[in-house]
Symmetry: C2
DNA sequence: GAAGAATTCAAACAAATGTTTTAAGCTGTC
DNA sequence: GACAGCTTAAAACATTTGTTTGAATTCTTC
């Protein structure tokens, strides 16, 4: 028999007052705490007891609400992954619509770069969830290929079709490589910022995110045009 | 009193015949096994018992030879990290020397790209160690900042000085950003190859490493020249 | 306010963790 | 062959792990 676990039910009842500090119902507190601890110490590095005590609830709550540590982890990712991907794709679609399907290359790149990083912009939650994503890229604690299927592929395809329309003179076989280059720069930007901040590396300058994005736009646009020129000659 | 643990001693005694299969002395077998298991399941995901049974030795050996699981992990990384970094830097220096300190941009980039990926070229060991490095970037199990100090910074500085000489008309304040872009592409190339292979993603084409490198060289060279042009105007 | 459901709690579970201990085995030297 | 030193071995160590249990408590509903 399949057991069903409780959702927060906040939309239905809404009777629980949010007690400041440990706000909200236990289920939500657990989700927030899990997002923080999982991203800080990884899945295996976070114990159910850590979670419970940080969320200010009993150990059994994890199993009561989610049916286990693993299911909780899935829930944490599911809560953000899909919305995040949707934002990125929507942002591309918007640019496409505003430019009658033929946007200027820089505009498209800028929109994508912003959409890629923006969901991670609000400092606190940002680096936490990015850490989680980075972990997930390395060894998935997720069932099957949810991460690749629901995040990577949709994002890449949206960017791919966008690029083809922005640069009609582009060899389509090269587009996937180009998308990889852009995404690689973006991922690395977020990564290295995090990595270099924890080790206070005096030798390596710190960048403002806005300047990094403008650089990536300019750098990538030039790289792409190199291909477009070549084709049109 | 500080305890000293045994090294392999293979250079001194060389008396133990390598028993095929589990070849070499226990200490070396443990190092190899640890490299594999740590990269596959992470530090916390690998138990001392896993290590011992995979290496075909007793549980106590880990403590006997290395003084603990943590020390073994350090040793595994130390064994490859520094040599790897040296190869990369040497490769850049070589190009600089061969071109009297003013290499063609594409040549420099190609040398760097190859040196970056080549140590990871021999399939088996490659992805294993790259996985380890990726893990290390996310949460360091290493003491202090060994990774950033011994790997990241030296590599970046070498590339930085190389770039400045290859492109005299380059705004030096932009060089760090450019280096980030190149490294970001390279890291992502290795990453995504691994990630997408485990999830058999039919939608995303697989690339030959050689072609990826040539793409990154071309793409980046164009991006860099965009800056160089701007300055010289 | 009482019945019944939903939630919280402390305690206990078996299994797995890294490390230590103590004894046995091995190797080379005299 | 006996001694010494290094290496391996099995067992036990104390913790910690995720999960389950069953009773206590709180909340909801009538």
């Amino acid at each position: 028999m399949k057991q069903v676990f409780k959702d927060s039910g906040v939309a239905i009842s809404e009777k629980k007052k949010t007690i400041e500090g440990n706000a909200g119902p236990v289920r939500d507190r657990l989700l927030d705490t899990a997002e923080r601890l999982f991203s800080e110490h990884g899945f295996e590095g976070t114990s159910v007891r850590d979670l419970a005590s940080a969320a200010g609830c009993n150990i059994a709550s994890v199993n009561y609400y989610f049916g286990g540590k693993e299911k909780l982890y899935e829930e944490v990712l599911r809560r953000h992954l899909i919305p995040m991907t949707d934002i990125r794709i929507a942002s591309i679609d918007k640019v496409m619509a505003q430019s009658n399907g033929k946007p200027e290359l820089e505009v498209l790149l800028r929109a994508f770069a912003n959409a890629f990083i923006e969901p991670l912009a609000d400092e606190a939650r940002a680096s936490r969830f990015m850490k989680l994503m980075a972990r997930e890229m390395i060894d998935s604690n997720l069932p099957s290929d949810m991460f690749v299927k629901d995040v990577i592929i949709p994002t890449m395809t949206a960017m791919r079709t966008g690029l083809v329309k922005a640069c009609p003179g582009l060899d389509e076989s090269k587009v996937p490589l180009i998308v990889h280059s852009v995404i690689g720069q973006l991922v690395h930007a977020v990564h290295s910022e995090r990595m270099l901040e924890q080790a206070k590396a005096a030798d390596i300058p710190k960048f403002e995110l806005a300047k990094v994005i403008e650089h990536i736009v300019k750098f990538s646009a030039a790289g792409i045009r190199a291909y477009a020129r070549e084709k049109s000659e």
